[in-house]
């Protein structure tokens, strides 16, 4: 199973990669919106975790573009800030506030991938 992790913080990318790899997933990393879209097409991931605040393309925009291409692709919005007022968040499968404890994220990923 391939997971695309999108975040503009290099340490977080590293943490996610190590943690999720330990879980047995193949992890690809993108540090901005453009990279994320490129990898989305090139790598054809089974799941995406999307940071909302990105330097170039907004995470919500990415969500939209990805869902338009692949409506059934599970996407988890992962953010440092609460975006609950944005309607489009509803297009994602899950929404999680970033935490140093990744257990919640991991169980969410397990659940979403087992549905496929």
């Amino acid at each position: 199973m391939k997971i695309l992790v999108v975040d503009d913080d290099e340490h977080i990318l590293r943490l996610y990669k190590d943690e999720l790899s330990d879980e047995g997933y193949e992890v690809v990393l993108a540090a901005n919106g453009q990279e994320a879209l490129d990898l989305f097409y090139k790598e054809n991931p089974d799941l995406v975790t999307l940071d909302i605040r990105l330097p170039d393309i907004d995470g919500i925009q990415l969500l939209r573009q990805m869902k338009e291409k692949r409506p059934r692709l599970p996407i988890i919005m992962s953010t440092a800030y609460d975006y609950r007022d944005d309607f489009s968040i509803w297009a994602s499968e899950a929404y999680i506030v970033k935490s140093s404890d990744l257990n919640e994220l991991k169980s969410m990923i397990r659940k979403l991938l087992s549905k496929e």
């Binding site: 913080d9 340490h11 977080i12 590293r14 943490l15 190590d18 943690e19 605040r53 939209r64 869902k67 338009e68 409506p71 059934r72 440092a80 800030y81 609460d82 975006y83 609950r84 309607f87 489009s88 968040i89 509803w90 297009a91 929404y95 506030v97 970033k98 935490s99 140093s100 404890d101 990744l102």
Partner: protein, 701 residues
């Protein structure tokens, strides 16, 4: 002449002297008779004229030659029998004194005369003839008749104005006035219009018109009146107490009339110069109002001002359109007198109407004020309340008025110390308080002002209370959201900038913790715990709420459906969409009402859009096994088999508008309630959405 006279001569002299004297007297008398203004006539016992003086000639028009030898030529034929009877009475010696009767002149005209007739006796006292002194009393008669007419007029005026003084309803009064003007035993005009001065707009405005619209209608009305034999009194009474009938075409015509007072016309002159006008021929009068000649076709008319307290408040207009009788001096005098009488009554009625209207207006305002307004007496008794009070208390006005205010508003047996009414009663001063009233379950801004009667005695208070419970809540929300907004941008940056490093620090510490032993493991776990603590502090400060957190409560699903339908009610009407509902017995389900409303609203909106215009939406609620089901069926264009599997996908839309998230959101909300959605659809027939919500509470979430 011989002076030495004999006795016989003396006698003769005496006779001569007497004769002379008699002759002189006779001549004198004849002169009197001849020159008298009175007609002095003698006749024989058969009524044949024997003498005829100049007065008779002048009065009756016959010369003495024509009269003498004829049987009384001036007796109208109808009176000949009476005359014969009179002659018989005089023959018997009677004197008929000051008999008023009529006589006919040679040219046939009738004159009023007063007669004194006496028998003429010869030396033996035998009646041999009749003398008749007649005096022309036509003028006197005329004055007398005039006097009677004036009397009648005055009594009629008196009657009309006293009838009117009892009427304060303006419309009734105006109709009485105009009826009096047009009734034959009133002023007797054919048509009448009452104009009133509208000071605000500086115009003379038609207020009412009475009169037939056509000669035919005139005929019918007059016939009806003569058959019913109603007097002016009867009709006045009918108007005073009967239903007020809106009149005729003519009335409506009159109501539409408006003459600017800036124009120079007869009507406006009547107002400005405060005097009546009698226009005998409109064609010869350049100032006649075009509106009158064109719309009413009047050829001659009269107007009189209505003057009350030195001010012209209106004008009465009259004409005799159907009988074409000239309006004379008499008519004008009567019209003016009448106008003077009724003006005051009209002014009073007008003022009364204004006062009544103002009172009604005030009452309406009082009733419709959304704040609670009420009067309390100084003894704490509720005297008068507006609708807002009875609505807020949920009681009928009669259940509130008359009770003690502290019972009604505070549920207390004694006055509430902080109540502004109580304070006003104690101090006679006005108070405004913000009060939380647990009895009414709300917060109120309540003001109380003292009321004093005309003699300055304190009688109670007027109370205005505004329910600010909602405002209070909104204010609190606003304060919160303002604080959030102020925090917002900074918070987002801070959160991003602090949380991200915290996540890395804590995340890597966790990895280390797993790999290390002893003291080092302990150090790592200290880092883990401390970063967790920092993260939770951060979340707390920013007031994070997880997206999609449900706030569940027990809710009746039927009520929810009603709520969302009421949101689209006007759109349903606009699009001619019929709404049919079939509700199961109310069933309470444990759910988050706001998100379920969102979910159902999206389905309903889709149904409306699928129909476009003209169609039906059926909504059913029922219980199926362990779930409450909300079924929405529409007669819209339906969803094809190819599209159906994708309708819940995000950004999937066939509408070309909208976010494409509606049904996705619906799906998610239902999923979070552990429910499910089933869809059946057929192209061109419509769709059925069934939302299943589990009745049993699950422990998870």
């Amino acid at each position: 002449m011989n002076t030495d006279q004999r006795p016989e001569d003396k006698t003769q002299e005496e006779v001569l002297r007497l004769y002379k004297e008699v002759s002189q007297t006779k001549e004198y008398l004849e002169g009197i008779i001849e020159n008298s203004e009175d007609a002095i006539i003698t006749s024989d016992l058969n009524g044949v004229i024997t003498s005829w003086n100049k007065g008779a000639e002048k009065m009756y028009g016959f010369t003495s030659e024509e009269a003498i030898g004829r049987f009384l030529p001036f007796i109208p034929i109808s009176l000949i029998d009476d005359e014969k009877e009179s002659i018989e009475r005089i023959k018997n010696g009677e004197v008929l004194k000051d008999i008023e009767t009529i006589r006919q002149k040679s040219d046939g005209t009738i004159i009023d005369v007063s007669l004194t007739r006496s028998p003429i006796r010869d030396a033996a006292g035998k009646v041999v003839g009749i003398s008749c002194i007649s005096r022309d009393i036509s003028e006197k008669k005329r004055v007398e008749i005039e006097l009677i007419r004036r009397n009648q007029e005055l009594s009629r005026l008196f009657f009309i104005s006293s009838a009117m003084r009892g009427t304060l309803e303006l419309n009734r009064l105006l109709r009485m006035v105009l009826t009096a003007v047009t009734m034959s035993d009133g002023l007797g005009f054919n048509r009448a219009i009452l104009f009133l001065v509208d000071e605000d707009n500086n115009v003379l405005k038609g207020a009412m018109g009475v009169g037939p619209a056509s000669p035919d209608e005139a005929g019918q009305i007059w016939e009806k009146l003569s058959v019913e034999k109603k007097t002016l009194f009867d009709i006045m009474r009918d108007i005073e107490s009967g239903p007020l009938r809106k009149d005729s075409f003519f009335d409506r015509l009159s109501l539409g009339m408006e003459i600017p007072l800036s124009e120079e016309t007869i009507l406006t002159k009547t107002v400005k110069e405060k005097k009546p006008f009698n226009i005998q021929n409109v064609k010869e009068d350049p100032l006649s109002d075009a509106i009158l000649t064109q719309q009413l076709g009047t050829r001659a008319y009269a107007v009189a001002p209505l003057i009350s307290r030195d001010k012209v408040i209106g004008v009465i207009w009259v004409d005799n359109h159907f009988i074409d009788r000239r309006i004379g001096e008499e008519d004008m005098r009567f019209l003016s007198a009448f106008s003077n009488h009724v003006a005051t009554a009209i002014e009073s009625a007008r003022l009364f109407e204004q006062v009544t209207l103002t009172e009604q207006e005030l009452e309406n305002i009082f009733e419709s004020i959304s704040d609670m307004v009420f009067f309390n007496t100084k003894d704490y008794v509720v005297k008068k309340i507006n609708r807002a009070v009875s609505e807020r208390l949920g009681n009928k006005p009669e259940e509130i008025v008359g009770k003690k205010c502290h019972e009604v508003f505070h549920g207390m047996n004694e006055p509430k110390p902080e109540c502004p009414h109580h304070k006003t009663v104690m101090t006679r001063r006005a108070f405004v308080e913000e009060l939380e009233e647990p009895f009414l379950g709300g917060t109120f801004i309540s003001s109380s002002s003292p009321i004093f009667n005309s003699s300055g005695e304190f009688i109670g208070t007027v109370h205005v209370a505004r329910d600010i419970t909602e405002i209070k809540k909104l204010q609190e929300k606003l304060v919160l959201s303002e604080r959030m907004a102020a925090l917002g941008e900074v918070a987002a940056k801070v959160a991003h900038d602090i949380r991200n490093p915290l996540v890395s620090v804590g995340g890597f510490a966790r990895r280390l913790e797993k790999k290390l032993d002893g003291n080092l493991k302990e150090y790592a776990s200290i880092i883990v715990n401390e970063t967790s603590r920092l993260e939770s502090i951060l979340s707390e400060i920013l007031g994070f709420v997880r997206v999609g957190t449900l706030e569940k409560e027990k809710v009746n699903i039927n009520g929810i459906v009603d709520d969302i339908v009421s949101l689209v009610k006007s759109e349903l009407d606009e699009r001619s969409i019929t709404f049919v509902k079939e509700f199961a017995i109310p069933h309470e389900v444990f759910l988050d009402p706001n998100s379920i409303k969102d979910a159902l609203f999206n389905i309903l909106t889709n149904a409306v859009q699928a129909i476009g215009t003209n169609g039906t939406i059926f909504v059913k609620t029922y219980i199926r096994e362990d779930a409450a089901v909300i079924e929405m069926k529409d007669t819209g264009k339906g969803i094809s088999k190819e599209v159906l599997p994708f309708i819940f996908d995000p950004f999937f839309t066939t509408k070309g508008s909208g976010t494409g998230l509606g049904l996705t959101i619906t799906h998610k909300i239902i999923e979070r309630h552990n429910g499910r959605i089933e869809v059946e659809s057929e192209v061109n027939r419509g769709s059925i959405f069934k939302v299943f919500l589990p009745l049993k509470r699950r422990s998870e979430e």
